[in-house]
């Protein structure tokens, strides 16, 4: 036993010093661009969300490093600098993420960090990012509060916030003539779920003041069991049931609600409903109205850039890309364009983070999901066009999305300087549809 113990101590101290050494030696004298990528790699959000997002990012980075992406993304890496990505798991809560972020910036000396699906993490990271002067791109999270409650110098979000998802769904229900005289909602009990429900219910009230709220349910995030909630929704007899569930929660809800006939009895709308389609396949119910948090996957626009991305992803992984890979690629594209714009300005030298941040502000770039404009939060928060559709079976019996309505970015996003919830409450003044 004593011998074993000594061996263990020796090996572990050796391993720790080795890792520390690697950590320190990695930190200096690098060439190219070091990018920390944070997304869910374990836990219930990994399989439907974090892993496909990182798959898309990994593939796009590989193609960029080989110079195989189409124009305007055809320069190698970021402005000629080869990209080295360091993936980090997002699970474990905001406090752990703040620490991982510090490790990335201070220990690995990354040039930028791209990441964060969870709204909680997006609320926690920006202040640390500014304190450490670290360029940070939020690629997915939904809460509008990030740039509405504060402003940051080095933090950007390359995707629209969640208000758009719910405003567009309310408009779609109206335009398609669905009965919205009574609504009910099932949303997770945290920032994302609560904000989503508020945006949706207030939007519906604005468009149809007589409509009535039957039931508001807020189960805990990652709870996975919805038996009682489904009963309550069935009993409430609301005409429309809204949900912003996502990831494993959305999968469980669909699988539990479908045999009980919820989708046949009521019109169900999912504000972020597409990303479980690759996993569920034909188990996905028909007649569901859904958004993808942008024009992604089955609702993507028919452009050359989208066709290229869709095909590259399909060839590599054998499933179609839903919103997660689109959003991560969108973040990478924004960062690439900002870096290359900064390089153009300083005469082709490697830009520093202040130059990149200046170039990022107010940037506009094409993505597979359409034109992205950094218009809100004084040029730090993106808006983008949106699409809403309804699921149906095609002639081969496969689930697909039909009846797609596209919305201009300025139609479903508030103008700069106005908080999303105030904009909805005021009845969408200045919406350009």
């Amino acid at each position: 036993m004593n011998f074993f113990r000594q061996c263990l101590i020796l090996t572990s101290s050796f391993l720790i010093s080795l890792l520390t050494y690697v950590g320190i030696s990695n930190a200096d004298g690098h060439k190219g661009f070091k990018l920390g990528v944070v997304t869910f790699l374990s836990g219930p959000a990994a399989e439907p969300f974090g892993v496909p997002a990182w798959n898309g990012g990994k593939l796009f980075i590989k193609l960029l490093n080989e110079g195989k992406a189409p124009a305007p993304y055809n320069k190698i890496g970021f402005g000629g600098m080869k990209i080295t990505a360091i993936p980090i798991d997002e699970s474990g809560g905001a406090t752990k993420q703040v620490q991982e972020f510090r490790n990335l910036v201070q220990r690995d000396k990354v040039d930028a960090v791209l990441g964060y699906v969870s709204s909680g993490d997006c609320m926690a990271i920006p202040s640390v990012a500014d304190e450490l002067k670290a360029l940070t791109v939020l690629y997915d999270c939904g809460t509008p509060r990030v740039f509405e409650d504060a402003s940051y110098k080095y933090v950007f979000r390359t995707a629209a916030h969640a208000a758009m998802d719910n405003i567009a769904i309310a408009k779609y229900l109206m335009e398609k003539g669905h009965d919205i005289s009574s609504i009910a909602g099932i949303n997770q009990n945290y920032a994302w779920g609560k904000d989503s429900w508020k945006d949706f219910s207030v939007s519906v009230k604005k468009l149809s003041p007589s409509s009535e709220i039957k039931n508001e349910l807020f189960p805990k995030i990652f709870s996975g069991q919805y038996g009682t909630e489904i009963s309550a929704l069935m009993n409430s007899k609301a005409k429309v049931v809204h949900s912003s569930l996502w990831g494993g929660d959305l999968q469980s809800f669909i699988l539990q609600a479908k045999p009980r006939g919820l989708f046949k009895r009521t019109q169900v709308v999912f504000s972020a409903g597409d990303h479980v389609m690759p996993g569920l396949g034909n188990k996905y119910p028909e007649g569901v109205i859904l958004g993808a948090r942008g024009q992604y996957g089955m609702m993507a626009p028919d452009t050359a850039l989208n066709k290229w991305f869709y095909k590259s992803y399909m060839d590599e992984y054998g499933v179609f890309p839903a919103q997660p890979p689109y959003r991560m690629v969108q973040g990478l594209m924004g960062l690439k364009m900002a870096i290359e714009k900064a390089m153009e300005k300083n005469g082709g030298k490697e830009p520093n983070k202040d130059e990149i941040a200046a170039a990022f502000k107010g940037l506009e770039f094409d993505s597979p999901g359409g034109l992205v404009q950094m218009k809100l939060g004084d040029g730090h928060q993106a808006i983008q066009p949106h699409a809403i559709g309804t699921t149906a079976k095609d002639k081969d019996g496969n689930i697909t999305v039909t009846d797609i309505v596209r919305y201009k970015a300025s139609c479903v996003n508030p103008p700069n300087g106005i908080k999303a919830v105030d904009w909805i409450n005021a009845g969408f003044p200045g919406a350009d549809c």
């Binding site: 263990l8 790699l41 374990s42 360091i86 406090t95 201070q106 609320m123 304190e131």
Partner: protein
């Protein structure tokens, strides 16, 4: 023997503290930060060890960790109090007071009942915190940057200054704890652990020992929570979640109850293993961490502190 040993201890501690403060100037910034965090966790671990000496283990130290963190955070955001030393001290006192209030209830229980009741307290607090939207709900909130005697250090030195403050405050607390452990009530705790009934027959109160130890543990946990919150600049209900409490228990088991510095070493070890496994094995870091936990429990069942003790015993013998 006692007089000389204590003088010696004070001298040793101050020497170690100055050494660590100097080392802090040489090591990279991230390591300074990791050590600060390890000190925060170590403080909570020290609290559990104080309980362990009296035969109790708390599965809910996240409760006091969270109270301490939220006290510092709310004083910072709501009352505009940003002096790090003051925040640490106030959190220590306030959480100790909360500990003193609930201790009489907890001190009536032993073993698994004590552990589960403390766990229940922490989870109730978790449930409350995620429901209060005014302080960020499940998202938590951001702390203002801290000051020291009215001066705000520039961002390059902020980590180092907090590190120095943490080392000094923790150093003196550790010395006081050593004195406490070797004092009469501290030694009675060990006796309670061996045979509670006999201690009662000898005229001491096991109940009082448990109350005292829990109050100390609460104060330490609160200070750890405040330090962790100030270092990270962010606080969320995860502070009080049972997985956080589990980490503290693990740190104490890894350290053992024989040595005070061992606790901080154990916390640092856990922190390093966790952050490097997350960095190099992003998909399987939990597996690496789990293996580390299992192996250390199998091969060092009485904790890192036992090495220290062996080492010093051997030193004494050779003299």
């Amino acid at each position: 023997m006692s007089e000389k040993l204590y003088n010696n201890l004070l001298f040793q501690s101050i020497f170690l503290m100055s050494f660590l403060i100097l080392v802090g100037l040489l090591i990279p910034n991230w390591l300074v930060f990791v050590i600060t965090k390890a000190i925060a966790y170590g403080l909570v671990g020290l609290g559990i060890i104080t309980l362990m000496r009296g035969g109790l283990v708390s599965f809910g130290q996240g409760f006091v960790f969270g109270i301490g963190g939220y006290t510092a955070g709310l004083l910072g955001t709501q009352a505009g109090l940003t002096d790090a030393m003051l925040l640490l001290f106030v959190s220590f006192l306030f959480t100790g007071l909360v500990g003193l209030i609930i201790a009489p209830l907890l001190a009536r229980y032993r073993d698994i009942f004590f552990a589960m009741l403390s766990l229940a307290f922490s989870m109730v607090l978790y449930g409350i915190l995620i429901k209060i939207d005014a302080i960020g709900g499940s998202d938590g909130f951001v702390l203002p940057e801290s000051t020291y005697f009215g001066i705000k250090p520039s961002s390059e030195y902020a980590d180092y200054v907090l590190y120095v403050v943490a080392i000094i405050m923790t150093g003196f607390i550790s010395i006081l704890l050593r004195y406490y452990y070797d004092s009469t009530p501290g030694l009675i705790a060990l006796a309670v652990r061996e045979n509670e009934l006999r201690v009662e027959y000898l005229g001491s109160s096991a109940f009082n020992v448990a109350v005292l130890n829990f109050t100390i543990a609460a104060g330490l946990g609160g200070m750890g929570g405040a330090l962790n919150g100030i270092a990270l600049g962010h606080i969320d209900p995860e502070f009080t979640y049972w997985t956080t409490s589990g980490e503290f228990v693990f740190i104490s088991i890894l350290a053992g109850y024989l040595s005070v510095p061992a606790v901080f070493l154990a916390a640092l070890l856990l922190e390093l293993v966790r952050s490097f496994s997350g960095r190099y094995f992003p998909d399987t870091w939990q597996l690496i961490l789990g293996l580390f936990l299992i192996l250390s429990i199998i091969f060092i069942p009485s904790g890192i502190g036992s090495f220290f003790k062996q080492f010093f015993d051997r030193l004494k013998k050779s003299k």
